[in-house]
Symmetry: C3
Subunit: 357 residues, 3 copies
């Protein structure tokens, strides 16, 4: 076996140091189990971050942590249930995370990944497609490049739908994933009151009115306003907010500041959220050249970086092996937070939580 | 939560008034269970409506009604079985209805939805593809734009195949779906003798020699000829039948009449079947402008409309909320009738019917 | 039912005479069960034929034969496990054989069949994709037109990966499939010593340095060198081996000879391996016109033909009904040998073999 690559001489190794088992356990211990806020989400569509409150978000994160710390489920709550995974705008990462979550709960999946082959391409209305979905599945995840498609479909749906990204509007489950990573890192940030010295300064490299992930994330952050000294929007764009967008967040208590300068902010940031893609006009454009992070960036000790991935050049791979890399832990949590949400929407939480029958 | 869309403030509602639970129950009560006709279909290919007789069709509709009235299956008869869902001509609706049916029976699915990626595109023969399917799956559903492909594949298959639409030839499971809707509405139409005053007049807006759904439907209707005062083909085409097609149906007892005039017929029709798509030459064309239905059409009281969907402009959405809308009930039944057929072909009916071992 | 095609008047028949149940049984009886060589493969990536030795190969073939002779599994060892089936180079046959094997072991599958829709198309690195796969699945099968992609992905993977064909390099599971067919035919060829009169002469129509299937097959054959009088490479190419490729095989004991003449070799060959496709430069080209087999070819009595399929014109269909056709048995075995390998990599062999706990 002389010519055998050294990579092949041994088993693959569980070398994941990014998201130790103690992290979700700490979150789990920190939150008191309470099924009530989740019961309220039963059989709901999930389209906007506005549908969540502090209690719902905390219980979802807690249930995600329960899943992440449970090696194998005894009961598979979604056995016999069918997910319709409808990605009219292509996405491997979001699609696979939902499908993986559904499978791990015991369910089956039907995927639509080729928009050109669908009735919609032939002119079928979204209401008619929704009526079809009612008959064929138990829950829909929809990704569409239009802001409105999910709302049109909702008119005719009798099964829950999850918005997996609608144009430049929202992507609430990505924001839940971001929050779950944040609270695994610091469960105390979920508190109704956070002592001044425990508050964090968070930087968001992105454009709130053009990036659906940032829009949804800010709405979720506003539920936990006491956690933040400040949320700094780092953007080179001239217009960063839609009418009323900033006001809504500030009324909820979030302290916002906008600046184009990454370098001067970086040494003061405890959490940096960065994203690779901005929706401008009809096409994706890369963020500005200057808004990049690498191991050479002036990062504060202990600061964590979040990124929804996939990444482009804005996030250098030399950060992967540093303590700042929480984006891999964030990616890992994507499955567990979606398992929590799916269990909730399908009214199966009594199988995994202590709920009165 | 001021900016929250009202649609998101409540759970999705089971607002399906189109196909009440009493409908399949009435059909179920009307037909005496008899497994023998279905045993005869065991391990058969299903390519043509000609393979069915009155007894087989009634027992399939009965089994479909049993599935539709059963909230959850105790046994999953297709656990461990694999469906090969081969759609060389794209179709979301038919594909998902088969896959949903198979999943609901407990089986797994492998889909082929991208013709360009297959061996057939590289020149592989259909016999060789069939030989591959023998080894990898337990049943095949094939949709192909050629009339002959399913017959070529059949030469080499050792597992059952279902014709999911072959060119302009047939689409027998769509016709079964149509019949199941018809008999949920009026189970007495299944009778060997139907009193004159109970017979119905059915209009079919379509071209029998160019539309596979219409071709298969007429063959099925001819099994239940006593139910019909008349079947009126409403078509603006010059040639509506292939050689011998009309004669075969009339010999079976069906009273046929052809007319291009929808408006004069409409007030006399109890059942109207309409379809959106006609295969002409090498391309799909829309039906004539005049052959359209809307809430303003002169529909008889209590008349029902069937449509295999997806629809175009020939069927106005203002009919959806009327009593004439049976096309949604028809779409809903598509999964249950296919569950019945799949259970039958895979020799699993003893798990859901009272059959002697 | 006058117009009913005769094909539709009867059930599909189990007319498979190519791979009788006695064949895998003979192999099964011939090899003494020993789990140790397979335990050594637990949680390994499988990229190259070089990772196997004689004992591992024999035990995998034995386990495949156990699966092939077992009508239904009592335990489904991969229940709850997720396969990521990533075919960045399209392939229906290899993809379905892996997915079928995984399903038959009880697992769920997520497929990626449209390279254009993936993050890789948008410039995402293979390491990042691998990191995503770690979180979403339990095992990856990768088909890629690049030789290097599987090695790049391996850098970041914490779950096993199987090379389902990497450019012109290797396709080890196809070679295992070839061997399993060979040993079902003649289990005694697995012997450490094979008497002179029992040795076989094998012809390989193909180019070892351009065809991944041939490259991997030759490496496996070299583990069983005592079985072969000679392995004759039948090729019209000027260069058939990479630097050191021939030497490595000969050092392992394989007697190799290269000739462009099929006709003169054919009467002396006991086993003929033929393949349809050669990778030359950037495109597939058909093999030379003269390198074809048909029922008119001067085949030795009892000689068997192997072909990984899909086939082109190099293998005439008039051979299908002859005793020489072992390529259908080979195709049939593709699922069982992959079931054996998947059970091994996922550390589930204790559920199907007698292993000490």
């Amino acid at each position: 076996m002389n010519k055998l690559s050294p990579q092949l001489r041994q088993p693959v190794q569980p070398k994941d140091w990014t998201a130790g088992i103690e992290r979700p356990q700490t979150l789990l211990d920190h939150v008191v189990e309470d099924p009530d806020p989740l019961v309220d989400l039963s059989h709901r569509p999930v389209v906007s971050a506005r549908q969540f409150d502090r209690a719902k978000t905390m219980q979802l994160c807690r249930l995600a942590a329960l899943y992440e710390t449970t090696p194998a489920l005894i009961q598979l709550p979604l056995t016999g249930k069918i997910l319709i995974s409808a990605f009219y705008e292509p996405s491997t990462r979001t699609r696979l995370s939902f499908e993986s979550a559904w499978h791990r709960l015991g369910g089956d999946v039907m995927s639509i990944t080729d928009p050109a082959s669908t009735g919609i391409a032939k002119g079928e209305s979204l209401e008619d497609v929704a009526e079809m979905f009612n008959n064929y599945g138990d829950l829909v995840v929809l990704r569409d490049s239009s802001n409105e498609a999910v709302y049109e479909m909702l008119e005719a749906l009798r099964i829950p739908i999850i918005n997996g990204g609608n144009g430049t509007d929202e992507h609430p489950t990505q924001a839940l994933t971001d929050l779950y990573a944040l609270f695994k890192w610091r469960p105390d940030l979920m508190g109704e009151q956070v002592p001044e010295e425990r508050k964090v300064r968070m930087g968001i490299i992105g454009v709130p009115n053009r990036m659906r992930t940032v829009r949804s994330l800010l709405l979720f952050l506003s539920l936990f306003a006491p956690a933040f000294k400040e949320v700094v929007i780092i953007s080179e764009s001239d217009t960063n907010f839609d009418d009323g967008q900033r006001e809504e967040l500030e009324e909820a208590g979030l302290k916002l500041r906008v600046t184009p300068k990454l370098d001067t902010e970086l040494p003061e940031l405890d959490v940096i959220y960065i994203n690779s893609i901005a929706w401008v006009g009809d096409s994706y454009v890369k963020l500005g050249e200057r808004l990049r992070l690498s191991a050479d960036s002036a990062l504060k000790d202990g600061a964590i970086i979040l990124h929804p991935l996939a990444r482009g050049e804005e996030l250098a791979t030399d950060l992967d092996q540093t303590e700042h890399n929480w984006y891999f832990a964030q990616a890992r949590g994507a499955v567990f937070i979606r398992m929590a949400l799916l269990t909730t929407l399908t009214q199966r939480i009594h199988q995994v939580m202590d709920t009165p029958e």
